[in-house]
């Protein structure tokens, strides 16, 4: 579903991604861990073209991100086409980023109605089912600020799912939450993984990574240091840097 080959990204002169190779298969859950500033968020944002890469190849579902290949040439996509591609990829942010001026229902149906042109009734119907799925049935008319952090994050997940994405990106979805609220969000993500969603999760929840993840990638300083089955990587890390990091988070 996602394939990265030698992906490079720099901000100004500092290179943040220094040739990333990884692959996520359909229905797989990939967890990414690594110290602050190692480029995890940047990689995630490159996948739905919120950031532009400067080298290597990055493709989602067999199509290059941000470009179209015709013959032996790559054509940069126009904004509308990039937007259409992004609509197929859900993204959940560390700080939720719900739209505060819209109700929970408004947040969820906005993109389906305005981007996919789904009929309003149908979108509402679906939104209610999604809210039920994330354990927030009946909260349609509340405004985001009236919800707890954990509830807001679950609304954000429902909002992303409303576009029926084929891939979900999570950027530290629980690290802005109080410890007792983390569980609810992880439960929703676990259910989602069981339902066969392809997921790319940046997280520090090692329990979640071990239990739900199919792959675990450890990144440091813009490179993939170590990748493998979560259980193995956590139990006996091959690299000194991985060992160091794990000793701090476990």
């Amino acid at each position: 579903m996602v394939r990265a080959e030698g992906v490079r990204k720099r901000f100004g002169v500092t290179e943040v991604l220094k040739g990333i190779d990884l692959e996520v298969g359909r229905g797989e859950v990939l967890c990414v861990i690594g110290p602050s500033g190692s480029g995890k968020s940047t990689l995630l944002r490159c996948i739905n073209h919120l950031e532009k890469i400067h080298g290597g190849r990055l493709s989602v579902d067999g199509e290059l991100v941000g470009y179209q290949q015709r013959g032996d040439r790559l054509y940069e996509l126009r904004e509308r086409e990039v937007a259409r591609k992004r609509a197929e990829i859900g993204m959940v942010f560390q700080h939720f980023n719900l739209f505060p001026h819209m109700t929970v229902l408004g947040n969820i149906i906005e993109a389906p109605c305005r981007v996919k042109k789904v009929a309003r009734d149908e979108a509402i119907e679906r939104a209610k089912r999604l809210l039920d799925q994330v354990g927030l049935a009946g909260r349609e008319d509340t405004y985001p600020r009236q919800l707890s952090g954990g509830q807001q994050q679950r609304v954000a997940i429902a909002r992303a799912l409303a576009m029926e994405p084929k891939l979900m990106l999570f950027d530290e979805p629980t690290s802005a939450l109080d410890p007792e609220l983390v569980g609810d969000v992880l439960d929703v993500m676990r259910d989602l993984a069981r339902s066969g969603m392809t997921m790319f999760v940046v997280t520090h929840e090692m329990g979640f990574a071990r239990e739900v993840g199919d792959k675990l990638v450890f990144m440091d300083d813009g490179v993939v240091v170590e990748a493998g089955v979560p259980r193995d990587v956590i139990a006996n890390p091959q690299h000194e840097r991985t060992r160091n990091f794990l000793s701090k988070v476990l």
């Binding site: 919120l50 990829i89 001026h101 600020r145 954000a156 992303a160 576009m163």
Partner: protein
């Protein structure tokens, strides 16, 4: 025995005495005297001529002038706000041509007096007899208008006031847009929304919270700025008052009449602004204030002290030496 010696159980029997504010009573007395003196001077001085004010307050020319002022203000602000939003979006656009054009517009229209702009619009027919749409230098014309039919007195006023206002509104709108967290447009892009939709549905509605208060300021300021169209002899409120002055050679009472109407319109605008702010503030508070301006004023002006939860059971937890 002092309160500090009491156990916490005994402290609950103590009566709490609120802080006294003798200063407030002194201030109230001083202000009451000053106000009474002012009112007396208004009533006792025949030069105010309240009879004349009463007679002209609802006179037809004054009412027509008031309506014209209102019309000018509304239309100029519509042009100003629409233009301001357009200019602000252009200014923030990644397209350097649009951004520079907007900057130039703002520089020019803020940098020249609005009076001159109005007079130039009014006298445009002196500079250009006809206005035609076509390609420059190659003598291709599509349509031609006579300038005088295109820009009337009223049109010149709206153009002058509105286009000038747009330059100021552009900066207000830009500040509003910049105040919205970047995460908002990022989340919207991630949902596949194109940038025009993001601006219209996500960013601008949130920017409105920042945009509305200074826009209220601008509208009230515009209400009074419209009086400068007296230079192109457009009969709005101030001009109407001036006409009375020119025929009767009495000025103060007519100026008071105009001020009463300006104040009345300002009051209505202020109340309207409160409602607009409440609309755009929805979802921005955990406990949104209930009721509009009138209800809140009603509550604030109600006689007696506001009810405080548990005021009667206030407990002193630290000692005092009041015995």
């Amino acid at each position: 025995m002092t309160a500090a010696d009491d156990s916490t159980g005994a402290a609950s029997h103590l009566k709490a005495v609120p802080v006294r504010h003798p200063g407030r009573w002194v201030a109230a007395a001083v202000i009451a005297v000053v106000v009474a003196m002012l009112i007396h001077s208004f009533l006792a001085n025949p030069l105010y001529d309240w009879g004349r004010i009463g007679r002209t307050l609802f006179a037809a020319p004054i009412l027509r002038g008031t309506l014209k002022t209102l019309e000018l203000t509304v239309l100029a602000m519509v042009v100003g706000i629409a233009g301001g939003i357009l200019l602000a979006v252009m200014r923030l656009s990644p397209n350097p041509v649009l951004s520079a054009s907007s900057a130039f517009y703002i520089w020019f229209f803020r940098g020249t007096p609005v009076l001159v702009q109005i007079v130039i619009w009014y006298n445009l027919s002196y500079l250009y007899k006809h206005i035609s749409l076509g390609l420059p230098f190659v003598h291709v014309t599509f349509v031609t208008f006579s300038t005088n039919t295109l820009i009337s007195q009223f049109g010149a006023a709206i153009l002058g006031l509105g286009l000038n206002e747009a330059a100021y509104m552009a900066e207000i709108v830009r500040a509003g847009i910049l105040s919205v967290d970047e995460g908002q447009s990022e989340a919207a892009s991630a949902l596949g929304m194109p940038s025009s939709l993001i601006m219209r549905r996500i960013v601008l509605p949130q920017a409105m919270r920042i945009i509305v208060p200074p826009t209220g300021n601008e509208t009230i300021s515009m209400l009074k700025t419209t009086s400068i169209v007296i230079y192109i002899a457009l009969p709005e409120l101030f001009t109407s008052a001036q006409n009375y002055i020119n025929t009767t050679f009495v000025s103060i009472p007519y100026f008071i009449v105009a001020c009463i109407w300006y104040l009345a319109m300002t009051s209505v605008l202020t109340i309207g602004q409160g409602y607009i702010e409440r609309y755009y503030g929805r979802g921005s508070n955990r406990n949104p204030p209930s009721g509009g301006f009138l209800e809140r004023m009603g509550r604030a002006l109600r006689f007696g002290r506001p009810w405080l939860p548990g005021r009667d059971q206030m407990v002193l937890s630290t000692g005092n030496n009041g015995d």
